[in-house]
Symmetry: C2
Subunit: 306 residues, 2 copies
């Protein structure tokens, strides 16, 4: 069982209160793939320019990510420059260069079209639709989006939402999409737009999962060392989808575990810049943190007599 991801592969320059890096591997598909690769086969669809460094390709190969769908074309790779202040919840974008991403049209290699688990990372909803038209009966399709598409491409986004099983979205963007400040009401309005499951991401405050009749809360792991939040949401999605593909079961129970696995991967990712922490991660470390999440939230029931 494998996961297909379509999204950006980028060179990021990031500054946080704890340091700065220039032109390091980033992009939603890079974070997603690396996180998911601990659990399942991953097929990546994206585009890079002729300036894309061979070390980044080597990292994908190390993690045994299938990059047959990663096109390399003349021109410069997508670049993002951003900054975080002490409130690490909010990225300040200093510069976005779409470069080769501007004319990106996802083309799925034949072998990718049967992927049972599909993640449409945060890209133009028209491209997300292109991908949906190329896959055959997946078991679960999830997508991400952002304020830019909610404002600029709402109709295409709504068409995507009618065709996906699950949406992951930031809390503020959920409110914006639903036009409703209360997050529980907003969640149910979004579920009415199509997805059966909604995951609301709250940064360092964790994530909420909603279905029509259930609600699940996962904290973010409280960490002493947060160097760079870039990619946390995509590492989360990678851990989530990778775990689901691994157990190959879509149920309330497996999705709850998958959310904790997503939170686990995000918690490691923010401990270093770019993909530095994920590339050295081991499965025993992952299992240990998953269990630390259990200990973080576990409490006993009330005695029957009360």
């Amino acid at each position: 069982m494998g996961v297909l991801v379509v999204g950006s592969v980028a060179l990021d320059s990031v500054q946080t209160p704890f340091g700065a890096v220039e032109n390091v591997l980033g992009g939603s598909a890079s974070y997603f793939s690396t996180a998911a690769s601990f659990f399942t086969e991953v097929s990546l669809v994206g585009v890079v320019g002729d300036d894309f460094p061979s070390e980044a390709i080597a990292l994908f190969r190390e993690r045994e990510i299938n990059i047959d769908g990663l096109e390399q074309v003349p021109g410069r790779t997508f670049r993002w420059r951003g900054q975080y202040r002490y409130d690490l919840n909010e990225a300040i974008t200093l510069e976005t260069q779409l470069n080769v991403f501007e004319s990106f049209r996802p083309k799925l290699p034949l072998a990718y079209q049967e992927s049972p688990y599909v993640f449409l990372a945060n890209i133009d909803p028209e491209l997300q639709l292109d991908v949906l038209n190329q896959v055959k009966r997946p078991k679960l399709v999830a997508c991400d989006t952002m304020n830019f598409w909610i404002q600029g491409k709402l109709e295409a986004l709504k068409a995507v939402l009618q065709r996906v099983d699950l949406l992951t979205i930031n809390e503020g963007e959920a409110r914006q999409l639903a036009q409703e400040p209360n997050i529980v009401k907003a969640a149910h309005r979004i579920l009415d737009m199509g997805p059966k499951v909604l995951i609301v991401k709250r940064g360092e405050y964790g994530a909420l999962m909603f279905s029509d009749s259930t609600m699940f809360f996962a904290p973010a792991y409280p960490l002493e060392t947060v160097y760079d939040p870039t990619g946390a949401g995509d590492s989360f999605a990678g851990g989530f989808m990778g775990y689901l593909a691994n157990v190959d079961a879509v149920s309330e129970e497996s999705m709850r575990q998958a959310i904790i696995m997503g939170s686990t991967m995000a918690s490691f990712n923010v401990e270093s810049f770019s993909l530095e922490r994920l590339r050295t991660l081991t499965y025993p470390e992952i299992r240990e943190r998953f269990r630390a999440f259990r200990s973080l939230v576990t409490f006993a029931d009330l005695p029957e007599t009360t």
Copy 2:
């Protein structure tokens, strides 16, 4: 086993996006006592003016709260006027009239001095010290504080912290007190100031409990109906201390349950203005929501084979 609380008893005027009330019962000791009264005997110490309405006294009596320590003196009761916008996390104070609270010196009735559980609500740390000098070997002393005292009475506050077992504090104020933006590091700095346990309150994002070697996270219950957040922190503390006094055991396990009970009481309190929701609450409703919290955070462990 009973709980003693010292704090404000006030008449509040509050405006939220969902309505407004004028001169309704409020104040930290009122919210705390009412919440705690579902679990244990409560002894209240505070002061009101000769304008204090008899209906408010009647509410305390309905909940069987001991108000022998509630002085009534000539003058006007403490008044607070505040407002919440759609971001219900932040109160905007429009007016504070200390009135009779300005010359308040807590005097504990003899019968109160043996109280095993003591909560020093958010008042001048010098008054908190006065109270500590009047109680005899309590099993657990907890206190609350705020930015105003951190800025203006830091030395007295530090003296209080050396004599309490547990501090509850808002997240931003924890950072301010510790002078450290990372909340895990901030928590450990505050534990070094004296308390054995720290509870960091995050409003609609729940609460974190820290000890030297443990960490526990409780979500806030995601609600469709939040009318008025006033008193959420004090209802939380009342549920927490009331539950601990009821089981009369201070352990990691009982404190985890107590935090969820605090979150339960806070979740009811915000469903209406003033104490309207708590006064009509029943124990079966409390138990049901406590269990809803369990279902909100429960997930299965990883299979042994992975």
